[in-house]
């Protein structure tokens, strides 16, 4: 194996941000390194020439509570998140999603920010076949073997969103703290992912030189229920065929503040609007769940080989609501 990389060690995150911005696409952050060695082996991606190890520059691996928020360093491993009793207590969908990531080895190695920014698992892209994601101008999955691809969104790329913690963080309305050459800013995690109709070549909106430093979560109070669930082909460990993150609360006997995101079905975390609107503000009752679940795949435009995901979406939506409904502190039926 050859290693066409150079390592550069810099003094601060700000310096790293400036250096990466200057070098544009030629430099990248070295976090857990999983994607990097995977791509170096397969040669499927344009690997960067210069790497900047990030975890040695600043404290990037921590979980702490400050100003009423849970703050997670971007370099914290998925295993540390899965292990944290603090997160389990007030942001348990994130714990559930962390436990669903890879195997114990992968969880020990991978970082939260790396997981959020992982490139698509599409087999055309990963095997170096020309596509929008690697400089080409087509999506081979549109007409090829698209059994694992998107049923929502209508292209032009059909790779799917695969980050389990990313889905949970959307439902938790997490905030990202981003270091850039000009300073620091915050951004809702729901704004991180780019619409492929705007830019099919990438998955997130961060520019070169923008580095996720921290992820902040407002703790859920005990009025809330929520879950993360995932259907996968191999139960040992696998990426999601369809996944869901769901959070809502009981507000004077009604379904309120519902946040529901689907993974594995669209290039970005997908909000099933019709189903959401159907059940939002309805009086709590088991009977409200099935009619909403029936609408969960509204607007789907499956490709030749992936229509099987439609009943899966409906079923998972229904199961997620039923499981969480049982956990409400008060329910009429």
């Amino acid at each position: 194996m050859t290693y066409p990389f150079k390592i550069e060690r810099l003094a601060s995150l700000q310096a790293a941000a400036r250096r990466i911005a200057d070098l544009q696409g030629r430099a990248a952050i070295l976090g857990g390194g999983l994607e990097l060695l995977d791509f170096a082996r397969s040669g499927a991606d344009q690997t960067p020439e210069i790497l900047i190890p990030i975890r040695q520059i600043a404290p990037m691996s921590y979980i702490e509570t400050r100003s009423g928020e849970i703050r997670i360093g971007a370099g914290t491993s998925i295993a540390e998140i899965a292990d944290s009793t603090g997160i389990r207590r007030v942001a348990w969908p994130l714990t559930e999603s962390a436990n669903a990531v890879g195997s114990s080895q992968i969880r020990s190695q991978s970082t939260l920010a790396g997981n959020l920014l992982q490139r698509p698992r599409c087999w055309y892209f990963r095997n170096g076949i020309s596509c929008f994601k690697n400089g080409g101008n087509t999506c081979p999955a549109a007409t090829g073997d698209n059994r694992y691809h998107a049923i929502f969104g209508g292209g032009p790329t059909y790779s799917v969103f695969q980050s389990d913690p990313g889905l949970a963080l959307c439902a938790l309305q997490a905030t990202l703290v981003i270091v850039s050459p000009d300073g620091e800013r915050t951004m809702p995690v729901t704004d991180l992912y780019v619409d492929p109709k705007q830019d099919a070549s990438r998955e997130h909106v961060l520019k070169p030189g923008e580095i996720i430093r921290e992820i902040r979560i407002t703790p859920l109070t005990d009025r809330y229920v929520g879950t993360f669930m995932k259907i996968r082909e191999r139960s040992g460990f696998d990426f999601a065929t369809v996944s869901i993150a769901l959070i809502y609360n009981n507000f004077h006997g009604r379904f309120k503040d519902i946040r529901v995101y689907l993974g594995g079905v669209a290039p970005r975390p997908y909000v099933p609007e019709k189903a959401l609107n159907q059940i939002q503000y309805k009086k709590l009752g088991r009977g409200e769940i099935p009619p909403a679940a029936d609408l969960a795949a509204e607007g789907a435009a499956p490709l030749e080989h992936n229509a099987y995901k439609i009943p899966m979406v409906k079923r998972l939506f229904r199961e997620a609501f039923e499981v969480t409904y049982e956990k409400l502190s008060w329910r009429p039926d």
Binding site: D38, E80, D83, G102, S108, Q109
Partner: protein
């Protein structure tokens, strides 16, 4: 293509050398340190054959750039032997027939040792070993071996259960 000095502890001894910072830890262990007990299977993080412990956590050494091991403690299958005695996990794999062709065995044992040291790190044994593939045994004998070893190790043999799991090294407490 430049090599760089790197130093880490492996099986209790300090090792220093000059390798490319992004050379796979697997290759550094086999080619530079000279310990060939760690095996390469798929080379892409699917099979777990190359599992070693990095500061006590199981990792796939085919996906760890060597620079990530700087200053850390690496444990390979060779490091389990104490005073010429096999580790209880190794003993039990032999006793229960947990190995056949043997290519998955070093990684399987390392993942099993990590789980035995910190049973809270996974829901159960099957989940803990989900990242390690074996095409010979059908897993039943492996599970028997791990069960046997965990009984033998008891509480005294483990490295001690910590509040939030032994993987938590740098993370602040919450």
């Amino acid at each position: 293509m430049d090599k760089a000095p790197v130093s880490f502890r492996i099986n209790g001894k300090t090792w220093s050398g000059s390798v490319h910072p992004l050379k796979r830890l697997l290759d550094t262990i086999r080619e530079d340190v000279g310990l060939t007990g760690t095996k390469e299977g798929c080379g892409e993080g699917e099979c777990g054959a190359c599992t070693v412990l990095l500061d006590g956590s199981p990792v796939m050494s085919c996906l760890v750039p060597t620079c990530q091991a700087e200053g850390k403690e690496v444990t390979t299958i060779e490091g389990l032997v104490r005073d010429g005695e096999l580790h209880p996990m190794q003993d039990c794999f032999i006793q229960e027939g947990g190995a056949q062709c043997g290519i998955c065995t070093p990684g399987m044992i390392m993942a099993a040792v990590a789980y035995a040291n910190d049973p809270d790190s996974a829901e159960d044994m099957r989940e803990a070993l989900a990242g390690n593939l074996c095409r010979c045994t059908g897993y039943t004998r492996i599970y028997e071996a791990v069960r046997c070893a965990m009984e033998k190790m008891g509480d005294s043999g483990r490295s001690g259960k910590k509040d939030e799991g032994s993987r938590k090294k740098k993370a602040g407490a919450t």
